[in-house]
């Protein structure tokens, strides 16, 4: 009798022995929800110009730069047309433009005049003239 009971116990627990084996299916990273699309007229590429000294400088319109306390940022338009905030550090003002010391690459597209309504993740459409300008570069 005792032996039978034992068998039941061991049979019951053998299933438990295998618990914890095997891996789990990895869920694929989810894509962020499709954001709204806004038409913005003034999208400009970051310009590289010959600086006063040796070497070149990067310029963005002063109107493109916004401030949050001591931080300075611009709205960058990515390849997919999505807006992202980019924090930059700036130097002198040159004829309505600001010299960018770090944070941007030449040719990147920025929103020419900062608009607080443009949030991160919004898709913007580029105006025709700018696209041509980029292509001609």
């Amino acid at each position: 009798m005792a032996l039978k009971k034992q068998n039941i116990v061991f049979a019951a627990f053998t299933a438990l022995l295998f618990a914890g084996c095997g891996g789990h299916e990895a869920p694929s990273p989810q894509q962020p929800a499709a954001a709204e699309t806004v038409a913005v007229q003034n999208i400009l590429p970051v310009e590289a110009v010959q600086g006063s000294g040796n070497g070149s400088q990067l310029l963005v319109p002063a109107t493109a730069v916004f401030r949050e306390g001591a931080l300075q940022g611009v709205l960058v338009v990515g390849d997919d047309g999505r807006i992202a905030v980019r924090w930059i550090s700036t130097g002198h003002a040159v004829a309505g433009n600001l010299v960018v010391l770090a944070g941007l690459d030449a040719g990147e597209l920025v929103v020419g005049s900062y608009d607080p309504a443009l949030r991160e993740g919004i898709t913007v459409t580029k105006s025709q003239s700018v696209t041509e300008e980029v292509q001609s570069k």
Binding site: A2, L3, A19, Q30, G69, A70, W87, G103
Partner: protein, 1069 residues
């Protein structure tokens, strides 16, 4: 009959009124101790580590290494107890890290180190400044992080709010260090205007002197008159930006020149020197806004020995109160981004729950054999055992953590044995009804008392030698053998005192007819008779049986070289966080680094399990124990960024953190590669932290040789599949402009080199020249002089910086003083490359190549073995080949050499020590049994059971797909004790039967039949008690060893041991 100690104890307590009181008291103190013992997740490892910063301004790394680091290292080795000495010689300073033996007293180590340092200060070269010595302790790791953020709140205001809160928090008792990460400080900035400086004939050092002398106030003494004393005070501190602006710095055209005339003065945030942003991830709590927000993190550490969860609770209550009192301004949200107190409490209570499950499961098993009354006896005695063990934990300042509690779960199946044996025997004696009940109980205890004591000590002998595991793993693992041994001793006492008392009252003498007990009618006997008889009778069958067992053993062992079961020190744990460490090439601007961190955190927040991401650029993320050992708190340069990733609680996700880390690695590194960054995923290691999982230390005669070999090794790392996060501790080339002063010209113009250096330093790096006084701010408001950022972007900007001639005062010039001389006239620019830092370990120059393993191989040992072949095949310029060393440093530095370090070093030490412990265990067990059986041969037969456990252990790991880890090894060692005990029970009975005149064969079959029940009962308890441990990633190995090893070894023991005994005793039969 002879009662022995056991019988005497039982007799004293079986009817005593004190016994139930003792039981209740033990339970009560156990419960109280459980709540009073500090709780934490991981055991506290005291690693006395001291960082010594020795500044040597202006010196190149090679000079720092030769003149400062080397002599100092040499003197350090004189100190007893120093384990490792590491040094890094950088431009301008040396960092020497001294690591003492694990467990050494921190205070004593500090005193010795200070003594040695002071003794050798006279040998240091001129120009070396006072060293700074910092103790690195586990209690520096913050237990609670509070992140301050708000939609449109800038870092400056966030920091102000955090400081106000920090000041209030400091008033809480038991709180440790409170720090603020990120944000911008308030500063009075004097932004020099180059053209105005020139126009008004004012130089930067002049401004510094004037402001410093204006910013003074002293008590001059007192006047006594009319029996009164009046205090006289002179001067007035600068109290506002206006005060600073009104300091006169010179005279021009007969009128004074004020600071405000030559500079812009601002009172507000300092220049941006860090970026710290919080973003909410895909698994954020509902209602959290999208996007990233400037953030400041307040970190709270605890005082040594206090309970993190209690402290965290108090801090959070205080912060809530401060939020209500509007100390935290409107619009700023305070979010908990780390709470180790909560995770510790959660872990401890989960483990206590598991412990209860184990106790209940074991009780059920016992119930099947002894009936519910017998089960109840055991069910009551186990909690008393654990209550007493918990009390000892409290008294000896152990904390409740995963290791101390697993020690209890691990012994659950073992501690019931003592009670089982006693209760079972009492049960048998009651059934026999030969004596009155009381007398029967005492006889029963006396009968099995002594073997029980021996069995207990056998198990203690098996686990206790593990205390001697050395190195970082020692303190991590030592609670295991200590806790288990304590529990064993208490279980013995409980079995001898409480169990008889309980059994006497709970166990019933069975009523009704009682059959004459006949062994030959039991089912056990029939089974063993049919199995063992043919094997005993036919030597061919016997040898075939041995052959089968031998093949099983070989097959099991073969799984290891076949890599079906891989060895690893410890598997990864399931944590709620990991970090991404981003290193950009040296010379990358802060914003560019920030951009990479921003993009990586933008990617990570789309991962479904990520609750929040926080990135820190230019300042380090709050450290954890791993970061502490790896010196991540020094990561404060423009080219470095850390991303702290918080996952949702492990209960709410199906993937373990290690799997998530593996999954995101490719995406993170792709972003990193785009910008030339090295982005590493850093998980919290399950055991003691090391520099990196894989570390290749490259030694060699010259720096060129070392870097060359390191480059090749790094290439091999990169090409080996499964080796990830490859990096080396060699900086990229960073461009340097050396401004060489034309000394002759400078002297002629009345300008000193020092003056030029100071002017440049103030202009470019800026200089703190004092502080505002009388401000309500809790942080000091520094007065800082510098050129505006726009005016220091290129060499061209340096040309119109002017220095003032000292004139005749300089003794080298006859020109008049005060003339402004452009720097461009006095210096010549030479472009060069920044010298690289020099790393040294234990007095050898070394270059480190580091990597992690993930994916193809999870265990570094296999990756190392694979790379060994490739490294040995390397062609070196001088023709010799490199064979990587594993355990010792190269004998000479004349040739390049390589040594493996990192996790391997700890793995090697742990398995070496556990192996030694195992050998000691075997010897002790042998001695114990020799003492008991008075035979040299019999103990060897009993110990056959030990290797048989491998037949279960190794395939068990294969079935579960688990690593054979350090905890598996612990399980194997503990199992040795249990299995030997089974053999002891078996052979003891054979000998008793033979003494009674039974034939050898009959005695063997009968004893196997009789002893099967207690053997299966005790082994079953061990197996069932271990099942809950299967679900912990780290202790899974221990559970697998105990379960599979226990099951198979028990079955094989019941067959193999009697057979071997038969063969050994055949001649004497």
């Amino acid at each position: 009959m002879n009662e022995g100690i056991a019988g005497k104890l039982a007799k004293q307590f079986i009817n005593s009124k004190i016994t139930p009181l003792l039981m209740v008291a033990a339970l009560l103190v156990g419960v109280i101790a459980t709540f009073m013992t500090p709780r934490e997740e991981e055991p506290q490892i005291v690693v006395p580590m001291v960082d010594i910063y020795i500044p040597y301004p202006g010196a190149a790394p090679s000079e720092v290494a030769e003149r400062v680091a080397k002599p100092f290292e040499r003197s350090l080795t004189e100190i007893q107890g120093v384990d490792y000495v590491y040094s890094t010689s950088m431009p301008d300073f040396a960092l020497v890290t001294v690591r003492y033996d694990v467990g050494a007293s921190t205070e004593e180590s500090m005193v010795k180190l200070w003594g040695t340092l002071m003794k050798n200060m006279d040998k240091m070269p001129a120009g070396v400044q006072m060293p700074l010595m910092k103790k690195v302790a586990i209690d520096d790791v913050p237990v609670l992080n509070l992140t301050f953020w708000g939609g449109k709140t800038d870092p400056y205001r966030l920091r102000q709010a955090a400081i106000d809160v920090a000041d209030e928090l400091k008033k809480i008792p038991d709180i440790g260090d409170v720090e603020i990460k990120g944000g911008l400080k308030r500063q009075v900035r004097i932004l020099l205007d180059k053209s105005k400086l020139q126009r008004y004939n004012v130089s930067a050092p002049q401004i510094m002197q004037q402001i410093q002398s204006a910013n003074s106030q002293i008590t001059s003494g007192d006047f006594t008159s009319m029996n009164r004393e009046v205090i006289v005070r002179t001067g007035k501190f600068l109290e506002s930006a206006e005060d600073v602006g009104s300091v006169v710095v010179g005279v021009y055209g007969g009128s004074p020149v004020y600071v405000r005339d030559v500079a812009t003065i601002s009172d507000g945030p300092e220049e941006v020197n860090n970026y710290n942003f919080l973003t909410w991830g895909a698994a954020a709590p509902a209602g959290m806004p999208d996007g990233e927000f400037p953030a400041v993190t307040l970190t709270v550490a605890k005082r040594k020995g206090t309970d993190a969860s209690v402290l965290a609770g108090k801090v959070i209550a205080k912060v809530n109160q401060l939020e209500e009192q509007k100390v935290v301004p409107h619009g700023i949200t305070v979010t908990e981004t780390r709470n180790y107190g909560e995770t510790a409490t959660e872990k401890v209570f989960t483990l206590l729950e598991h412990l209860s499950i184990a106790v209940v499961a074991v009780t059920i098993v016992v119930g099947f054999f002894l009936g519910w009354r017998g089960a109840l006896v055991n069910f009551m005695s186990v909690p008393i055992t654990f209550a007493l063990t918990l009390l000892v934990y409290f008294l000896f300042d152990y904390s409740l953590n995963r290791v101390t509690l697993f020690a209890l779960i691990f012994v659950t199946g073992i501690v019931v044995d003592d009670s089982i044996i006693i209760a079972e025997n009492i049960h048998r004696h009651f059934a026999m009804k030969r004596q009155p009940k009381l007398q029967a109980a005492i006889t029963a205890v006396s009968e099995v008392g002594n073997p029980t004591i021996l069995a207990t000590f056998t198990v203690i002998a098996a686990v206790l030698p593990m205390v001697f595991v050395s190195g970082l793993m020692g303190p991590y693992m030592s609670p295991m053998p200590i806790g288990a041994s304590l529990a064993m001793i208490f279980s013995l006492l409980v079995a001898l005192i409480a169990t008889p008392w309980l059994s006497y009252r709970l166990l019933k003498t069975e009523e009704g007819g009682h059959d004459e007990y006949d062994i030959q009618k039991t089912s056990y006997y029939r089974v063993f008779n049919s199995v063992l008889s043919p094997l005993i009778d036919s030597s061919l069958k016997r040898w075939m049986a041995f052959g089968v067992v031998g093949l099983m053993l070989l097959g099991a062992i073969a799984l290891v070289p076949l890599k079906a079961v891989e060895m690893k020190m410890l598997p990864f744990d399931n944590k709620n966080e990991f970090q991404v460490i981003i290193d950009m090439p040296e010379g990358t601007a802060l914003e560019e680094t920030g951009r990479v961190a921003q993009e990586i955190s933008g990617y990570l927040r789309t991962v479904p399990e990520v609750e929040s991401c926080q990135y820190y650029v230019g300042t380090n993320a709050p450290i954890n124990f791993n970061g502490l050992v790896r010196h991540y708190y020094l990561r404060q340069a423009d080219n470095m960024a850390d991303v702290q990733v918080n996952l949702v609680d492990k209960a709410q996700r199906s993937d373990q953190s290690h799997d998530i880390a593996k999954r995101v690695r490719a995406g993170v590194q792709e972003i990193g590669r785009k910008y030339g960054a090295n982005a590493k995923i850093v998980e919290i290691p399950p055991g003691p932290p090391v520099l990196s999982t894989l570390v290749a230390e490259i030694y060699g005669p010259t720096e060129k040789d070392r870097i060359e070999l390191a480059g090749k090794v790094k290439q091999i790392f990169l090409e080996t599949p499964g080796v990830v996060d490859v990096d080396w501790l060699v900086e990229d080339d960073q461009e340097v402009y050396d401004l060489v002063v034309d000394k002759k010209k400078a002297a002629f113009r009345g300008v000193s080199v020092q003056q030029i250096a100071q002017t440049l330093r103030m202009s470019v790096a800026g200089m703190d020249i004092g502080a505002l006084h009388g401000q309500p701010d809790l942080e000091q408001v520094v007065i800082h002089v510098r050129l505006p950022k726009a005016d220091r972007t290129s060499l061209g900007d340096l040309s119109n910086i002017f220095v003032q001639s000292q004139g005749m005062g300089s003794m080298t010039s006859r020109l008049r003083a005060g003339e402004m001389i452009p720097l461009s006239e006095l210096v010549k620019v030479e472009k060069s490359v920044q010298d690289k830092s020099i790393y040294r370990k234990d007095l050898h120059d070394v270059v480190y190549v580091t990597a992690d393993v993930a994916g193809v191989t999870e265990s570094p040992v296999y990756a190392m073995l694979e790379m060994d072949k490739k490294i040995a095949a390397l062609k070196l310029p001088d023709g010799h080949s490199v064979s990587p060393l594993y355990t010792s440093l190269p004998e000479s530095e004349a040739k390049t050499a390589m040594k493996w370090d990192g996790e391997w070093q700890i793995t090697f030490e742990v398995f070496r020590d556990l192996g030694t412990a195992f050998a000691v265990v075997l010897v002790i067990i042998y001695l114990l049994i020799v003492g008991w059986f008075q035979s040299f041969k019999t103990p060897l037969i009993m110990m056959i059971a030990i290797p048989l456990s491998l037949v279960g252990i190794i395939p068990g790991h294969w079935i579960h797909g688990a690593f054979f880890t350090a905890t598996s090894m612990i399980g194997m060692i503990a199992l040795a004790g249990i299995m030997v005990r089974n053999s002891v029970l078996l052979i003891d009975f054979i000998q008793i039967r033979r003494d009674e005149g039974e034939g050898l064969k009959q005695a063997i079959i009968e004893s196997a039949a009789v002893r099967t029940r207690p053997i299966i009962l005790t082994s079953g308890a061990v197996v069932i008690g271990s099942i809950v441990m299967l679900f912990d990633p780290i202790f899974q190995g221990l559970a697998i060893s105990m379960i599979w090893g226990g099951v198979l070894s028990t079955i094989l023991t019941l067959v193999v041991v009697p057979l071997v005994y038969y063969m050994a005793e055949k001649k004497n039969a």
